[in-house]
Structures are given as structure tokens and as C-alpha cells.
Amino acid sequence: MLLKALILFAHPRLERSKIHAGLLRYLPNHPNIYLHDLYEEYPDFNIDIKREQALAEAHDIIVWQHPMYWYSVPPLLKQWLDMTLEPGWAYGPEGRALAGKKLLHVVSTGGSAEAYAKGGRNRFTIREFLAPLEQTAHLCGMDYLPPYIIFGSHHLDEESLHSYGSNLAWLLNLLISGAADREGMKRFEYMNDWITQKKV
């Protein structure tokens, strides 16, 4: 039986985006993969909590996909977290609604992989920057997979975009099939490296 994936997509200005508009073109057209375009759904930031919770409950894999802004998520995704992840639903003694679900974090960054390192311009690694989100998922009992990072988005050529897009599509298909090698993934900081190793 196939699993179901919910992509919580947050981009405030998709019409000006190269990377995410490009990635979405590669998104498998599969009934079990649901793209939830948050900025299109909630332009006035008035999140429908009940609806979002029902959606999340109905899916086994949750994807947070967004560009990284100032080392964090776009404001509407933060709003989504703040509104939707209610105590007693997402966390707390009775809050087990998300427990056991897999969480895949898909993030694009302007800087290169080298910039995100101890000696680099950004001084910290991506994983370090994403720690609050990883912990959010952890607190809700979700299984935070190694994040899939699109590096150097400002200077990405069509070829790299194609490889990012098709790899993400391959990963999503693998995840909904339920055949993903969770233990193997665990050994990698980033999903990118697991995919490379897997494909080689």
C-alpha cells in the first residue's frame, strides 16, 4: 500500500522564483502526493487550523519545502507552525497526531555548500541553522529525515536544476512506496549525499 505525502510549500513570490518554480515542474503527478501551496491558500495569513490539522492527519509523510530566508523559514510557514501545531494535538501528553510521521525538509539556499561551514561565510552548517525546525518535528514525535538542500540557488544552471528536480521526484516516489532505507539515510547529514551514494 502506498503512503501519502503532503508538501507544505511556502514561497511568498513564486512568480519571481527560478528554483522552486523549476522544482515544482519535476513534482511527480501522483494522487498520493499533494502539493499544498500555503501562500496561495492563505494570502492574508489567516490559517484555517482545523483544515490544516485534518490534512496533516491524512498524510504519512510531511514535506516542508521553502527557500531559506535569513537562515529561517518564510513567515507564512512559521505562521503555519505557530497556528497548526497546537498543544494537545501536535505535542503535550495527548498530542500524538503527528507521531511517527516522516518529515522531509526541502530547503533552497543562495549560498554554496562551502559557505555553510565553520570557516565559511555563514559560519554554521545548514543542519545547525535548521536545528529549531528539526527539534519542532522531534517534539511532535516526527521522524526528521536528513534535509534535502538546494545549494547556491542564485547561480544554478538548468542542468543542476534538472538534477535537483529529478532527484527530489525520485526521492518522493521512493518515500511513498515505503521502501526507503531509513537506516541508511541516518548515516548522512544531508539527503543529497544519501541520494548520491544510492545512485552511484
Binding site: P12, R13, L14, E15, R16, Y39, P43, G110, H154, H155
Partner: protein, 626 residues
């Protein structure tokens, strides 16, 4: 038209105009102004009017009836029921005790017959409803404890007038006295007792039932004609009819009017009735006070100044003692009790009626009758004086102050911070949203069908033309925080805003404007919060249209918000340039061009855009050199 009538009218009106404005200038109550005006034009000073002062008072007593109707309008039935203890207890105690204390010296010191003593005492125990309530209202003290207690006592006295007038003839042993009373009471006087009782009860019941089921629907029909004077005429007719009915069955017209007022207090026409009758009441009461002044017999006072001074002092002293003791017993705080005592220690207008009737019955000697009449008028004249003295010199020494802030404005008991004028589709949406957030508003609307419907849905809507200053006042404009001007007609809205800005400058006005041009008119009035019907909805629709064409929702949202912001800024910018019409057209065009440019640029990546938010192209370009 009769020339002498016009002349008389000129005399009375100018006495009022001159002396009341003088009194107000000097910081005295209007009552005193009228009374002094009456003295001046009266037979003993200028002699412009003769001895008809008392007749005038009799005519003008109708002002008291109206006043009680208006007071009734302000008291909802439950509230009236809550007052019953204080009316019967406090009122009954004051009246019986004062009468007793006047009677004893009458019999034992003055050597009067007990009948005369009783008649005189009953007359002197009355206080003046007209003076006291008018003064309280003017000072805004109607809702204080002292104000409420005073009202209870006055209401009880008012109720007592009728049984007293019925009882006085029984004091006369010989039955041959011929009475001439102009009251139409005679109609039921000859009927058997049980039938009389039945008729009295029936009349009261009629007031209650017809108030609910006849008057209110009738007023609805009349209000639909939208002829204002017709409504005023109906209001007058209502009060006069009630007064007549009450007189017919031998009840006090004032009491009947009060009951009618209470019945109509919960109807949507409350404020409209109030504002229609207010000027009549005011003028009639003024006339009444002029009559009081004119009827003071200065010749008699000149002849026996000591007797009269002594009588006045004794009467006021006894009344004040009883009032103070009664106030104590009913646990009024000391400053409230002082105010209560000083308010009521005069002899009232009903004393004239009772004394005159007693004279007819030969119950009271003529000389004493004249002296007591003069004394009564003097106490009424002096009331505003000693109330002022109490406020300035005595009251400040008593610590516990009942704050004036705690009283509700005289016309409205629901103290809503928001007034919505106009409750059509626009206003009612505002009202619903406010209510959904627990904010109740006082609502004024001029469409009686709608008012009826909304009241059924539980809104507190009042029928009336909000452009009328008096209605605005009745709706509590003096105490509200926000006035929402949401009338359909831009012209009516403009008048409302003009009035409100002028007379209630503290109000925060939020105005509905049909379009840009209405908005300019309101800006000229100094209104800063203007909501154009044609702006927000149009932009909202346009934004949805763009979405339908495939634009991103959030982008459209931001652009719509920016558009509204630009448009409002443009409105303010153009305000100053508006006088020069030529220039206005020019810069309006310029403003629109600017908006178009801004919006256009927002979408075109290749041009220098004003909005670079989350624009990856812009970021890429700016970070290239890194």
C-alpha cells in the same frame, strides 16, 4: 390673529429669553431666571401682565405632565418596579410626617380648626416637581442617589394630589358648598363606587395595553410618512389624550403621563418622542415658572414682611428636618442626604391647587390663603438659590462624594461607547461585527420597518433622524466614544458629521463616504477616518479578478493593500490642492499615473521595480559581485 395675543407672547418670550440668559451668565439655574422674569413683568414691578399669573400657571402645568411623560420614557418598567419601595416608603414617610408636623402647630399655636390645619398642611407638604426635576436635570444629577430619592418622593406626592382633592370636600360639614371645578372628573363622579374603581383600573389598563398594541404600531405608520411635524403632532396628541383620560377617571394626569412614558420606554420611538416633546416641555415649564414669579404678591409681602418671612422660615425648616431624618432612615450618604434635603424643602405647585380649592370650600381664611400662596412662591423662587448655596458652601465639607461620572446621561440607560447612525446594509454589517466582538452600539435609523425588524432580532435600534441634534444628544453622544456615520444619503451623513463635530468635539467620527468627492467634503469637516464604499470593495473585487487570471494570491493581496494605501495617500495630498479645480484635475491625473506606474513596475521584472521582496532575480543581481 389677535394683536394682544401677540403682544403677550412677546412679553413672555422676551422675559424668558432675557432673564434666563442672564441667569445662565451668572451661573444660576434657568428656573430662577424664569421666576425672576415673571416677577419683573408681573403686576407689582413692571405691571406688563396683570393677575393672570395663576391662570398661566394652570395652563402651563401641562408642562409638568409632559415632564413626567418624558421621565417615564427614561424609566423602563423593571426599573420602575424596583423603585416601588422608595416611592411608597420614603415618599409616604415624608408626606405623612410633614403633614403631621404642620398640623400640630396649626391647631395648637395658630388656633386654626383641625380641618383648616389639615388642608393647609397637606398643601404645604407638597414639593415642586417642576423646579426640582428641572434643576436636577440641568445639573445632570437625575441619576444620583439623591436625584432618585427626590424623584420617588415627588412621584408619591403627585399620586397623593388626587385623593386629597377628593378628600377635602369631606372636611366640610355642610354639604351645600357649590364647587366649580374645570376637571372633567364629573363624568364618572356620579357613578357608583365599584364602577368608578373599575373605570379607574380600566383606564390604567388601557394606557398599558394601548401603549403596546396601539400607539407603537400607530407611530410606525406615521413615521412611514416621513413628515416630521406629523410625528410631533402624534406625540403631543398622545400626551394630551392620556392626560385627558386620567382626568376623566379622576387620576393625576401627570401620573398617567408617567405611566404612558414607562410603557413606551422600551419602544424604538423613545428617543424620537423625547426629542419631539422636549422643546414643548421646556417652554411650558418656563411659562409655569414665569407664572410663579408673576403671582408673588409683593404688596402683601410689603404689608406683612415679618409674618411672611417667619412663615417661609418655619415651613422650610420643618420640611428640611423631616427630609433629612427620612434620608437618614433610608441610608442616604451625608452629601447625598444634604442634596436631597435642600432639593425638596420648598412648597410645590400643587399647593396652589390645594389652597385654591380649599379657599373655594371655605376651608381656609382668605388672608392666610394669600400669605401661604406668597410663601409658597417665595420658597419655590429660593430653591435654586439654596441649592447653589449648598453646593458651594455646605456640601464641600462632607467627604463622601458620589461622583458625577457614575451617573448615566439623562436620556439613555445603556451606556454604549459606539453610536451607529444609519443601519442599512452598510451600518448593520458594522453593528453585527461589533456585536460579534461583544461591543453593543446605540443604533439610530430612519426606516421604521427596518427598525422594527432589527428590534425583533434583538438589536437596540432607535427610530429617528440622526441629523437632528437633539436625537443625537438623546442617543448619548455626550458620553459615547465613537460615532459611526453610516447613513445611505451622503447629504444626511454630511449634516450629521457637521453637527457632531460642532457639538460633540470629543467624538471619534468614522464616516462612510460614497466616493472620493464625499470624502473631500468630510475631510473639509475635519474628519480623518473616512471609509469609501467604492474603494475597498472595488479593490477586493479587482484583486480576486487578478487571481482568477492566474496571479499569485499573496502578491495580489499585497498589491491590493498597497493600492488602497496609495489611494488614501493621494486623497490626502489632493485635499490641499482641491480649491484650485484646474490644478486638482491635473494632479489627480498625475496621482493615477503614479499608481499605474507603481503597479506596473511591480510586475515587470526587467524594469527597476519598487518591490524587490522575495525576488530571486533582484537578489541574484545584487549578490553577483560577492
Amino acid at each position: 390673529m389677535n394683536g394682544s395675543f401677540l403682544l403677550e407672547a412677546i412679553i413672555y418670550l422676551s422675559a424668558g429669553v432675557v432673564f434666563v440668559s442672564l441667569a445662565k451668565k451668572l451661573g444660576l439655574s434657568s428656573v430662577l431666571g424664569y421666576v425672576i422674569g415673571g416677577m419683573m413683568i408681573g403686576p407689582y414691578v413692571l405691571g406688563w401682565i396683570g393677575t393672570e399669573g395663576e391662570d398661566i400657571m394652570h395652563f402651563a402645568e401641562f408642562g409638568v405632565v409632559m415632564m413626567l411623560f418624558l421621565i417615564g420614557l427614561e424609566i423602563e418598567p423593571e426599573q420602575f418596579w424596583k423603585m416601588r419601595k422608595s416611592i411608597v416608603g420614603l415618599g409616604g414617610m415624608q408626606y405623612s410626617l410633614t403633614t403631621l408636623l404642620f398640623m400640630l402647630p396649626g391647631i395648637f399655636i395658630m388656633g386654626w380648626s383641625w380641618q383648616m390645619s389639615l388642608a393647609v398642611s397637606l398643601a404645604l407638604s407638597m414639593s415642586s416637581t417642576a423646579i426640582v426635576l428641572q434643576t436636577l436635570k440641568e445639573k445632570g444629577l437625575s441619576q444620583t442617589t439623591a436625584g432618585q430619592a427626590s424623584f420617588s418622593v415627588l412621584l408619591f406626592q403627585d399620586i397623593m394630589v388626587i385623593p386629597i382633592l377628593a378628600l377635602l370636600p369631606l372636611l366640610v360639614s355642610q354639604g351645600e358648598i357649590h364647587l366649580e371645578r374645570e376637571h372633567p372628573q364629573a363624568i364618572i363622579k356620579d357613578l357608583p363606587g365599584w364602577l368608578q374603581t373599575l373605570l379607574v383600573l380600566g383606564a390604567v389598563g388601557l394606557v398599558f395595553i394601548s401603549g403596546r398594541f396601539l400607539v407603537v404600531p400607530g407611530l410606525r405608520i406615521i413615521s412611514k410618512t416621513r413628515i416630521r411635524e406629523l410625528f410631533t403632532a402624534s406625540a403631543l396628541l398622545l400626551v394630551v389624550a392620556v392626560a385627558y383620560l386620567m382626568e376623566m377617571v379622576g387620576l393625576s394626569p401627570a401620573l398617567g403621563a408617567f405611566l404612558a412614558g414607562v410603557v413606551l420606554a422600551t419602544s424604538e420611538f423613545r428617543h424620537e418622542l423625547e426629542s419631539d416633546l422636549q422643546p414643548f416641555k421646556g417652554l411650558l415649564l418656563g411659562l409655569f415658572f414665569i407664572g410663579v414669579g408673576a403671582s408673588i404678591n409683593f404688596r402683601l409681602i410689603g404689608r406683612e414682611p415679618l409674618t411672611i418671612a417667619g412663615v417661609v422660615a418655619a415651613i422650610v425648616f420643618v420640611k428640611a428636618c423631616v427630609l433629612f431624618a427620612a434620608g437618614r432612615l433610608f441610608r442616604l450618604k451625608s452629601d447625598q442626604n444634604l442634596s436631597f434635603t435642600f432639593n425638596l424643602s420648598q412648597v410645590g405647585e400643587f399647593a396652589f391647587v390645594i389652597l385654591a380649592f380649599s379657599l373655594q370650600l371655605n376651608l381656609v381664611e382668605r388672608t392666610w390663603n394669600d400669605i401661604l400662596m406668597a410663601a409658597t412662591a417665595i420658597t419655590m423662587t429660593l430653591t435654586p438659590v439654596w441649592i447653589a448655596i449648598n453646593e458651594k458652601y455646605i456640601d464641600p465639607y462632607f467627604g463622601t462624594k458620589e461622583t458625577v461620572e457614575s451617573y448615566t446621561p439623562d436620556t439613555i440607560h445603556e451606556k454604549h461607547p459606539v453610536i451607529i447612525a444609519g443601519f442599512g446594509h452598510f451600518g448593520s454589517t458594522i453593528g453585527r461585527f461589533l456585536r460579534a466582538n461583544g461591543v453593543e452600539a446605540t443604533i439610530l435609523d430612519f426606516d421604521s420597518d427596518r427598525v422594527d425588524l432589527l428590534r425583533k432580532m434583538g438589536f437596540k435600534v432607535y427610530y429617528g433622524d440622526a441629523t437632528r441634534l437633539d436625537l443625537l444628544e438623546a442617543a448619548g453622544a455626550a458620553h459615547a466614544k465613537i460615532l459611526i456615520a453610516a447613513i445611505d444619503s451622503p447629504d444626511a451623513n454630511a449634516i450629521l458629521i457637521h453637527n457632531a463635530r460642532k457639538h460633540f468635539p470629543h467624538l471619534h467620527i468614522m464616516a462612510r463616504a460614497r466616493n472620493r468627492f464625499d470624502a473631500y467634503d468630510f475631510l473639509d469637516e475635519g474628519v480623518t477616518h473616512i471609509y469609501r464604499e467604492t474603494l475597498y470593495t472595488s479593490v477586493h473585487l479587482a484583486a480576486d479578478a487578478l487571481r482568477h487570471l492566474g496571479f499569485r494570491a499573496y502578491t495580489v493581496k499585497r498589491m491590493a493593500q498597497n493600492f488602497i494605501k496609495y489611494d488614501e495617500e493621494a486623497l490626502m495630498k489632493l485635499k490641499s490642492e482641491r480649491n484650485n479645480m484646474q490644478q486638482y484635475i491635473f494632479s489627480a491625473k498625475k496621482q493615477i499615473e503614479m499608481q499605474e506606474k507603481l503597479l506596473h513596475e511591480d510586475l515587470l521584472q526587467h524594469l527597476t521595480s519598487s518591490d524587490h521582496c522575495w525576488d530571486s532575480g533582484f537578489v541574484r543581481e545584487k549578490t553577483k559581485q560577492l
